[in-house]
Symmetry: C2
Subunit: 505 residues, 2 copies
């Protein structure tokens, strides 16, 4: 495991930023649109001006409720073996949320997200070891208007044994979502023994505002002890100053205001210190979600999370690229690795391309590979006397060979990551195989998984119970492949013995 | 700047690895093919068995000469303003070496490297801020057989003001190379005042062997105080045990044997703790130079370099991909970032694709962008009270806007990296522009630079002096673009105002 995280700030600098946040909360305050929240703040020592939505926060109040923050957060899956409690020393990766569109796997064109996409993503999350959590992508455009929430939650829960994260805009919608949980579990009581739905939302509107509805939901979840975390999404140059430190001080203040509200509702309410910290590209005003600054910000935010003793999370790898080209590769890989090396516990990223506008199936498979690589990095050097291999080295001697030592073969699958998609064939084989890119191979892998039955699908009896209760216009919710897809007959890539070796001359 | 590096080992574990290396050097020893080197080792306390090439190293001898290692290494350029001394808190990036081939920028096919490629790479290194050092790629296939060394060194030196790293196989070749330096500087004495050629080589043949010729050269450079560093290139599973720790203990021993030889020749001889630590993919025996394990190994090696108090270096981003696809993106970006975050001082990587087999012009441009991103990460949070922006935040107030604050525009070019190649346009603009990938834009950028005169080219008078001295069959050495290339009329990418903004809902 990582023995020491990357740190971009000293402990003294970190404390100075936090003091800056306290100063902001005290002197500037937050606009709190929700009256109930304002009342709660007032009751617990904050200063709420009469006939105003402005709330100011004495540092002692912030510090009192900050001390109540839970050091852990648990995501529960339909199958408890997939439960994830963070921090766990290893980042948990989720599929990406927030994209309204999907790159159609047949046409390659952007289109609205459908319920079948959510179902398929569920199956992919279930199958892919890189992913730990299904973060529901977008809305299902084919679901009836009055099934905004369940039209996306049902296909997700139906196809994933791993934890699901969903959103609800109102208490009524949350009840509808929870009702699916009750139906699957058999009863409300059975569900509450192992509540496998996690809620999310964005109560903070940067800068320094808590909104009406999402803040209502935050209090709703906290009152009931339902798993929920909120994400803060500042935009540098628009909603924050155009410096990394300025964004850090401001957005830390925003998160703290939200977090202490939850503690005022119920002390110890678990949260994730979760952000989407993006700067604007001032040349055009573009939302530079692929910028390396997202990773730098998250490095500092992960450090701040440890200062608060709370789990950290972030949207990372939110590339601006429209396609799985090399830009997508480095914008996916670098900020995400930086976040992980800095101690980020929850990483929201799988499949998202084009500035959080679209989900791409091939990208989801490539992101699984990137997640596996990052997990391998975090696993680290695996220190032990056995792994030091001094006896093997003595046995082989100078100019010896290690390939025939039985330990070499025995460690084949544990020492190095065996990639699914990254090719290591030589140029001749690659040319003969049609000069394919990793995107071609990724689509093969997606097809390979999605044309097989979903091992994580809800059993028929339970599913019938859910469908009977929810009515005829419920989306089908099955993970079915596109009509043009058939199961692959053969492994997608021929593998040849590659004898080439090179020295660094 | 980075306040704390990523560390995969504790200090205790690091010490245990080093003790393992000492044990290897003492009990197993090294085969030393070069007789002069064996004599030097014997003279300085090592045990050389009679009628044998085996040398064993008492730990006290290793530690005595290890203590003499120089903490810094200096690369000098033709123009002293480009001199680089490492460590400097910021990695120095070089163009890639060791590839015999080039992806032809017109046909897209692999072909042998020509002298004009080396000249063009020189111009690119000179122009691109990501790169600090020109590490000469491969041989010039068009150079006469008897100009093996100068056929590649001349086009490099002619087109680069930044430091160049070259190789020579024999003292005679080194003299030929140095002679170009003397001719450019005006005299040997003038050259020695600011010697702008750095030599490299690979004296270690893993496992545990010092070869005949490269070891001779190491001693040659050390005797004369010429800048030189050697690279060690272990292959996990073949030349080392198939564990990360086993490779670390073994290859650290190999480097130490080489390094103390240099100290025995001349105490304080500067070196770089430089590696290409690659594992074999045991499924096929492929050389997995794109594997994330290269980055993990380099993380540990960079930590070991600090233990020895020497500058660290590595080949990183040596992707297995044949083309600038997403695999190239994450295999370029992730191990390189990991190495940098772990404190690697010298990173050898620009332009190299296909398992160190080929150089690609577009990749060189993309690598410049990756290098700039990594430099931005290492620059870090830029802590200051001014950057904390508390006054600006108070001025804007809750729900305020920062876009119109004069400081926002003033910081436009300093807060965030402004990418040359990563697109941030919206989908509509991208589609209208022909759905181009970053590789397309990278080729535009290469063309844009290479169709302009090289500002770093040797002046005509000096060049005439060099050419007169070196004879008629010397390669032309000019950086001329491919015949099909003409200067671009317009900027390669139309930029549109992108109003889209998204929240993380």
């Amino acid at each position: 495991m990582i023995q020491s995280h990357t740190r971009l700030l000293t402990e003294e600098q970190l404390l100075r930023v936090h003091e800056g946040s306290l100063e902001i909360l005290q002197d500037v305050g937050m606009i709190v649109r929700n009256e109930k929240a304002r009342d709660l703040f007032a009751t617990h020592g904050c200063i709420v001006e009469a006939d105003s939505e402005l709330v100011k926060f004495p540092p002692a109040v912030v510090e009192k409720y900050r001390a109540l923050l839970s050091p852990t957060f648990t995501f529960r899956g339909r199958d408890p073996q997939y439960d994830v409690t963070i921090p766990r020393g290893m980042p948990a990766f989720t599929s990406g949320s927030s994209a309204p569109n999907v790159i159609d796997p047949i046409s390659g064109e952007e289109r609205r997200c459908l319920s079948v996409d959510i179902a398929r993503i569920g199956q992919l999350v279930n199958e892919l070891p890189g992913f730990d959590i299904h973060n529901i992508l977008g809305l299902a455009a084919d679901a009836p208007q009055d099934q905004w929430a369940i039209g996306r939650v049902y296909p997700a829960l139906k196809n994933t044994l791993k934890p699901c994260r969903v959103t609800a805009r109102t208490p009524a919608e949350a009840e509808e979502v929870l009702n699916i949980g009750y139906l699957i579990a058999g009863s409300k009581e059975a569900y509450m023994e192992h509540p496998f739905i996690t809620f999310g939302g964005c109560a903070v509107i940067s800068p320094l505002t808590l909104d009406q509805d999402s803040t209502e939901m935050l209090m709703y979840y906290a009152e009931r002890g339902l798993a929920y975390y909120g994400t803060v999404a500042p935009i540098g140059g628009l909603s924050t100053p155009y410096t990394l430190l300025g964004m850090l001080a401001l957005t830390n203040a925003e998160w703290l205001a939200m977090a202490i509200l939850a503690q005022m509702v119920k002390p110890g309410t678990p949260l994730v210190y979760c952000f989407l910290p993006v700067f604007s590209d001032l040349r055009t005003g573009a939302y530079a979600s692929g910028g390396i600054e997202v990773g730098i910000m998250q490095s500092a935010l992960a450090q701040m999370a440890r200062f608060h003793n709370v789990p950290s999370g972030a949207y990372l790898g939110t590339t601006n690229s429209k396609l799985s080209d090399e830009q997508a590769g480095f914008e996916k890989g670098m900020p995400t690795l930086l976040g992980a090396l800095s101690g980020t516990d929850l990483i929201i990223f799988g499949g998202i391309v084009d500035t959080l506008m679209s989900f791409d199936y091939a990208q989801m498979m490539i992101d699984n590979e990137i997640a596996r690589m990052i997990k391998r990095v975090v696993k680290g050097m695996e220190f032990s006397d056995e792994n030091l291999c001094l006896d093997e080295i003595k046995e082989a001697g100078p100019a010896g060979l290690f390939i025939e030592h039985p330990n070499t073969l025995a460690r084949m699958k544990t020492t190095c990551l065996i990639p699914d998609l990254a090719t290591r064939e030589d140029r001749e084989s690659w040319q003969e195989g049609g000069r394919r890119s990793i995107r071609d191979r990724a689509m093969d892998q997606a097809r390979d998984i999605l044309t097989k039955p979903n091992k994580g699908a809800l059993d028929a009896e339970t599913d019938a119970r859910v469908r009977n209760a929810l009515g005829d216009d419920l989306v089908p919710g099955d993970s079915v492949p596109p009509e043009e897809w058939k199961p692959l007959e053969q492994a997608p890539e021929r593998r040849r013995h590659n004898k080439r070796r090179k020295n660094a001359a």
